[in-house]
Symmetry: C2
Subunit: 154 residues, 2 copies
């Protein structure tokens, strides 16, 4: 399966400190669905990078660049789905109560992940394979660091 | 629910013609899950924009800029999940057989959508509210155009 993507126009830059406001009450079940969707897609685009860093699949500079760019966006998406109201959701979720009982620690784990993705984005177009693989390892570690404390064991 | 997002470092630009190669055989059920996740998140970030364009919620230039940037990434994500192998998935899907019997028309509908999102991205930081609302309408039309022929009626 090959897919040719035209990525012209993908560039965008937003200043720091944008505030995202929810304009309508989102149902707890929808919050869970949306945050799980973001995790699913993080897996889709991080999986091949992890495979490259571990030497399981061939290195591709293009895939590193594309997937890092998409992870940049995806790394921002799950967090508002963990709003306290989402605790009332009547759907299956692996989210642990520590998310809400230790919000500062959870926020720190989110920040670690987002910082690790930013570090990857920074080297993703550098052509420096070793630096990219190190940054991929950093993202993997940050995923695991959050899952360790805040997600039910799979 | 408020969420402050630090968007420094979000800027990225990729050249045209990047090829995305799948390195491992992805299970049909995973393909469906991933493409549905992309649609779920398109809904999350397009919903508020549609509400603004329809005058149902207050206009926010910041939300237009942020959500357009995230839709830029999301608009690239569902399509490889409709690979022919995904037809064998044993999970519920609203995908219609026309996706695979009329691939050229399906590709055209995808392109219409991606072009509409690019048109939105282009005006999303312009401060031109009328142009943004028109572009949001264009995206909504492109969503519907594809759903009309390729998604089971909801």
């Amino acid at each position: 399966m090959n897919k040719r993507l035209l990525l012209t126009g993908l560039a965008f830059a937003l200043g720091a400190g944008v505030t995202l406001t929810a304009y309508s009450q989102v149902k707890p079940e929808i919050m869970v669905k949306q945050r799980q969707a973001a995790m699913t897609l993080q897996g889709k685009y991080f999986g091949p990078l992890a495979g490259m860093a571990q030497g399981k699949i061939p290195y591709s500079a293009e895939t590193v660049a594309l997937n890092s760019a998409l992870l940049d966006a995806l790394s921002r998406m799950p967090w508002d789905g963990f709003a306290p109201a989402s605790k009332d959701a009547t759907v299956k979720t692996a989210a642990l109560p520590a998310i809400w009982s230790e919000p500062a620690k959870f926020k720190e784990a989110q920040d670690n992940f987002q910082n690790a993705v930013q570090a990857l984005v920074k080297v993703s177009r550098s052509g420096d394979e070793a630096a990219q693989k190190a940054a991929i390892g950093g993202v993997g570690k940050a995923c695991g660091g959050c899952h360790q404390n805040f997600r039910e064991k799979q």
